[in-house]
């Protein structure tokens, strides 16, 4: 055993210090440009904007997880090999479209389909489509990566397809699936401010207003909460991963924040 003081020292340098430094830096920017004062003066608007922002992130994230995991799972079922390769090709191309492009596409394409290209719904659709691909891809790869021997043993012992999926395949693919979900969450949190551009609301309003007025206070009043939100979501997802992934397959704690 390594003595306690040494481990604490090590942890301090590896985890706590970098995190504390980042948060400290962000807070310093926040207060020094007068963002805090601006937010305090516009409390009502702040809560409205952050509410919209959370709605954008949470709804598109939930939808992306639901659809992504389901689709990725279906793609691994027997007889789906051909469709799976087609879907993977689409998903891969889709992911290479930049965030701003996705927002612009929603603005341009949705009216063709008879929907409004402006407002929160198009923004949600754009975020969802942008975030679903890593989850599909990782779910497919994760389940596909479960060893054939494990599946053969389970089948031969008399587990049903359903039991194999829920007790063996999904739990063993979970670290890979969680990796996809964390990538998606980063994409969504990063793209959500752009929703403002097509009238989707959210903290992007202050960010873009600040940029337009060359007012660092307004800009950071929007940007800092977005950054903190990104960190919080990643931290929570990391925590979730540690809790739900079996210790038998947890490979390493690469995650600095947890």
């Amino acid at each position: 055993m390594i003595p306690m003081p040494v481990t604490i020292f090590f942890q301090l340098f590896r985890k706590i210090l970098p995190v504390a430094a980042t948060i400290g830096f962000v807070c310093w920017i926040y207060s020094s440009y007068g963002a805090w004062a601006y937010t305090f003066e516009n409390k009502a608007e702040f809560f409205k904007l952050i509410g919209e922002h959370l709605v954008l992130v949470i709804i598109s994230m939930t939808a992306a997880i639901g659809v992504g995991v389901t689709l990725g799972t279906i793609m691994t079922r027997r007889g789906m090999e051909k469709s799976a390769s087609v879907i993977m090709a689409v998903v891969n191309v889709w992911q290479s479209v930049p965030s701003l492009g996705v927002i612009a596409l929603a603005y341009g394409i949705l009216p063709v389909l008879g929907m409004s290209g402006i407002g929160m719904v198009p923004a949600l659709i754009a975020l969802f489509f942008h975030a679903v691909s890593p989850i599909v891809r990782n779910t497919y790869a994760g389940i596909d990566g479960v060893s054939n021997d494990v599946i053969e043993a389970a089948t031969g012992m008399g587990l049903t397809k359903r039991q194999i999926l829920f007790q063996i395949e999904l739990p063993n693919a979970l670290p890979v699936i969680m990796g996809g979900i964390r990538t998606s969450s980063a994409i969504i949190v990063g793209t959500a401010p752009l929703a403002f551009l097509i009238g989707g609301g959210g903290l992007g309003f202050w960010i873009f207003t600040g940029i337009a007025l060359v007012d660092m206070g307004i800009m950071t009043a929007g940007a800092v909460p977005v950054a903190l939100l990104a960190m919080a979501i990643d931290y929570l997802l990391g925590l979730l991963e540690k809790t739900i992934v079996s210790k038998g397959i947890l490979q390493d704690d690469y995650d600095l924040a947890v």
Partner: protein, 370 residues
Amino acid sequence: MGTMLSLQDVTKIYPGAGNLKAVDELSFDLQEGEICTVVGPSGCGKTTAMKMINRLISITSGKIYIDGENVARLNTIELRRKIGYVIQNIGLFPNMTIGENIAIIPKLLKWNKGRIEEKVLSLLEIVNLPPDMYRDRYPRELSGGQQQRIGVARAMAGDPPIMLMDEPFGAIDPINREHLQNEFLKIQEKVKKTIIFVTHDIDEAIKMGDKICLLKDGHLVQFASPEEMLVNPKNDFVSEFVGGDRTLKRLNLFTVKKAMQKNPPVVLKTETVGAALNRSKELGQECLIAIDKEGGFAGILNCKDTSFSPDVQVKDVMDPVRAWLPSHSSLKDGLSEIFTHDYGFLVVVDDARKVLGWLRTDDIKNTLKG
């Protein structure tokens, strides 16, 4: 003891190129508690034959009965839960602890918690992995040999009457494999399962099997006990497959106890050398086995040596104990030991080192002659 497993004209044809018969009208019966090793060159259909029993592969024609029930009539899932299944690459579930791996079938069979708990503990004891140390660990923390022991324990957890084992020790290094084989035979003595054991290794087939089923190109070539197959190989293919040293392989099938001669020429170690020499002349033996009062092995007196004074006691001039044979060791080990030491015979002792008999090369010859 009834027929537990019966295959009747079981045939598997894979559609496609020439409708090749992977298994062709395979029939045999297996009694309860027997191990049948299925062996043959690769591509002979041994794994296919085995997988038709738990319907991982469908039967083209023919019937398989387990304990009188036609497996085709049973629900696949229920059927498989009644059959223990062990594969070469083990396939433990990485997300579950050792205990959970073993408990999976009992849980699906809806046993109550206490019974599952008890079963897990007793199985870990049986496969020699102390429950306290292993039940809460994960498969990745165990060595290959330990993992396969868990694989065997998991397969036995639902108390299946039948077990299918597909080259279970094939991926284990030779030293551990031998160890696991011996351990498994010990377990089998206790649990008496009916087992189909697929292997490509004829030595393993001979060692593990009560019956050997030798396949070639999907045909049954010979179904016999190991002894029968080694003594009377049905044709050239069989004798070639079992190897030119098949007589030597038979040595593995006998214990020293079976081949040894009882009533060896003994002498009490407290007797005088003169008396001993007379005794050896009477018996026509060049050596006498010196024993103590309790019959324990004390040494060997070489009576050809004429330099001994006839008045001293045997124990003062005898050769000290250098080697002996435990009565349960195999005849192969016995022969090897005899060749290692230069008496031309070895003393066979029981666990308390009391002399039971002696084993000479002629005794081995006679045993092999039958």
